[in-house]
Amino acid sequence: MFNLSLNIRIRKAGLLIIPALLWGVGACSPKVRSFTASPATMITKDDSVKFNWKVTGEPTLLFYQEDAGDDLNPGAQLLSYKLVARKGQKEDFLMQILTLLPDTSSHVIKLKTIRNGNALFALDTLQTQKWGTYFKVDQVQSFTDQPIVVVHGGRTAGLEAKGQVSGAFKGIPNSGPWEIRSFLTEAEMKDSTKIPGHLIIQARVIHQKN
């Protein structure tokens, strides 16, 4: 079994094949025992990604880049790294898939509501494992018709109407718990089917190492 780490600096699109970086001669079938990337999920250009792996067999790292753009982030790319271990006619593999985001990106935060009397609460956590700590909030914008209160990173902001923007969370990591609160309207109190199933905001996020 062999251990290896490799730093790859993200520059441009293309197919990269790194053959036969190191191979091991073991008694059993090829096996990718571990394959990790750091950062693990999301990066921006000029980031370095460190890969570590432990394999039995001859390792080959395959790289594939494709468009992952959507309405909010049309320039996003998907980077797929496939580590293959071969021995004879047999092979084993593990994948690491990263998203390459623009320096400034937008993300919907859509939280499922829970009713408590005449109030609505919505709470979820953006995983630090995915977001790290370098992606920081620049501003948030309400995507909800009624007034809401947003809580994140120890700060609170009120957004009175759909489309309103707040810079209250500027500089705070995007990861961590987000909470959105709202009061029910009279119409929602009378007819519970009108209660929104989600409370939604959109966060503009900047990749900021300092």
């Binding site: 309405d71 998907l78 935060i109 509501t113 995983q127």
Partner: protein
């Protein structure tokens, strides 16, 4: 209008949702009346671990890594009933997929993908040329066997897909025989009706014909014997296959190009004889959504299964693609009539037994708001039949499963057991009807012995 329809053709594919197959019609402006996807796609995002996963455009028609889950428990997760308002949020498709398959999470999980017209050219062509049904839901929020049973029996004794033979009580074929209606099944491989042992006897008669006869029968069979009701069956992915036979039922993880080619051939067959086409209605629909995202919550129309533990479902299943292809629909139209698989059975009863419903349950569903396919038909006929696109279909796919690996999943094993039971009961007839099954049994046994050292699935 019904009196002018001489032939009703039913073609049911497998396991794709409305937005997955037809969502592009509205998104790309091909027909903005279609209730498919619209920009921004972020409005439909499913949330998993706090992060949103919006629908995305599929770039290449290829085999998927995994079959998205579509059992009744997974569908409950996909529908995601809100605690706050009691409505289905339709935002658990990614969660159910990751929980069931354990595949690495990417920004583009397969259940959120939708095709463009370029990848589903025949489906897109038929939908935009004839009539797209905006509100056709699978009958039950569960998997293939119960939904197909609802479609062809109007009731279901089962609540999920298992290793089982199924009761055919109230089935369409006995009903047609009883009413003196001419009918036929054209099957491209082992018929799905193998699951119903009460229907095996039909399979060994000329009521079940090889699919390759469909075109020539439409073209030249005499009116005296030509069927009034035709069921067209694709080659099922989960059924036994041999050699060059490639399944084309669109069941994931299959690419859909094979199903598109099957749809093109079927459309060519039903339109090849202008006189016969002028009195034909073809229904192209899907048994259930196959775990793919759809944005329209199903209506709260409940049903309790007639057998087993009498499972209670509280809604219809997820919306599926459904297209009516006929001179008797308005070209390029879209219908918002509420339909499900039993809407076909309502149509048959209206056509062949006016004033008498197909069954008590079909009538009960009508009372709950499910309407007949007849409600979508136009007052006047347009017998033109534009040619389907003839551009080559590009499919990126490996050969797929073969007999070197014996079936291990529920549905393929269920198919295998049903086929085996039919062989046991009707060996000589099955040898004549499905000669490939003899070698299948032999090879499957060898494969299973080679891999696990024992026989399974009832073999």
């Amino acid at each position: 209008m019904l009196e002018n329809i001489n032939t009703i053709v039913l073609l049911m594919f497998e396991n794709r949702s409305f937005d997955h197959m037809l969502g592009h019609l509205s998104f790309d402006g091909i027909n903005t009346q279609v209730d498919g996807l619209r920009s921004p796609l972020s409005q439909y995002a499913n949330v998993f671990n706090g992060d949103p996963f919006p629908p995305f455009r599929i770039k290449v028609d290829s085999a998927l890594a995994k079959d998205p889950p579509h059992d009744k428990d997974s569908i409950a997760v996909q529908l995601d009933k809100s605690d706050a308002n009691g409505q289905f949020l339709m935002d658990g498709f990614v969660k159910a997929y990751i929980n069931a398959t354990k595949v690495p999470l990417t920004p583009k999980p397969d259940p959120m993908g939708f095709f463009s017209a370029a990848q589903v050219p025949i489906t897109s062509f038929l939908a935009s040329t004839y009539c797209t049904c905006n509100r056709w839901f699978s009958s039950l929020p569960t998997s293939t066997q119960p939904n197909r049973t609802m479609a062809f029996c109007g009731d279901s004794s089962i609540d999920d897909t298992k290793l089982q033979l199924i009761s055919a009580k109230g089935n369409i074929f006995d009903w047609l025989v009883d009413k003196g209606i001419k009918w036929r099944v054209y099957h491209d491989g082992l018929s799905f009706f193998t699951f119903y042992n009460d229907l095996w006897h039909f399979q060994f008669t000329d009521k079940f014909k090889d699919y390759e006869f469909l075109f020539s029968d439409f073209q030249s069979e005499s009116d005296a014997s030509f069927p009034q009701v035709i069921v067209v069956e694709p080659s099922y992915k989960d059924a036994p296959h041999f050699g060059s036979d490639i399944p084309n039922d669109n069941h994931p993880p299959l690419a859909v190009g094979f199903g598109e080619e099957f749809l093109r051939r079927t459309y060519e067959a039903v339109t090849c004889n202008p006189a016969r086409w002028g009195n034909t209605l073809m229904v192209v629909y899907y048994d259930e959504h196959g775990g793919f995202f759809d944005h329209v919550p199903p209506p709260a129309i409940g049903y309790t299964t007639t057998g087993g533990e009498h499972t209670q479902f509280n809604s219809l299943g997820v919306r599926v693609p459904a297209i009516l292809v006929s001179p008797f629909v308005t070209k390029g139209s879209v219908s918002n009539v509420l339909l499900d698989h039993t809407s076909v059975l309502q149509l048959l009863a209206e056509k062949f037994t006016p004033g008498v419903p197909f069954s008590d349950n079909v009538a009960a569903r009508m009372g709950k708001g499910i309407q007949s396919v007849s409600q979508v038909l136009a007052a006047t006929a347009d017998t033109t039949a534009p040619a389907a696109p003839s551009t080559p279909l590009m499919v990126k796919s490996a050969l797929g499963d073969n007999i070197a690996v014996a079936p291990t999943e529920d549905m393929p094993m269920a198919f295998e057991k049903a086929a085996h039971d039919m062989v046991e009961a009707h060996e000589e007839e099955v040898r004549q009807k499905y000669p490939e099954l003899s070698q299948w049994e032999h090879s499957a046994a060898i494969a299973r012995n080679a891999t696990v050292g024992q026989r399974g699935a009832g073999l």
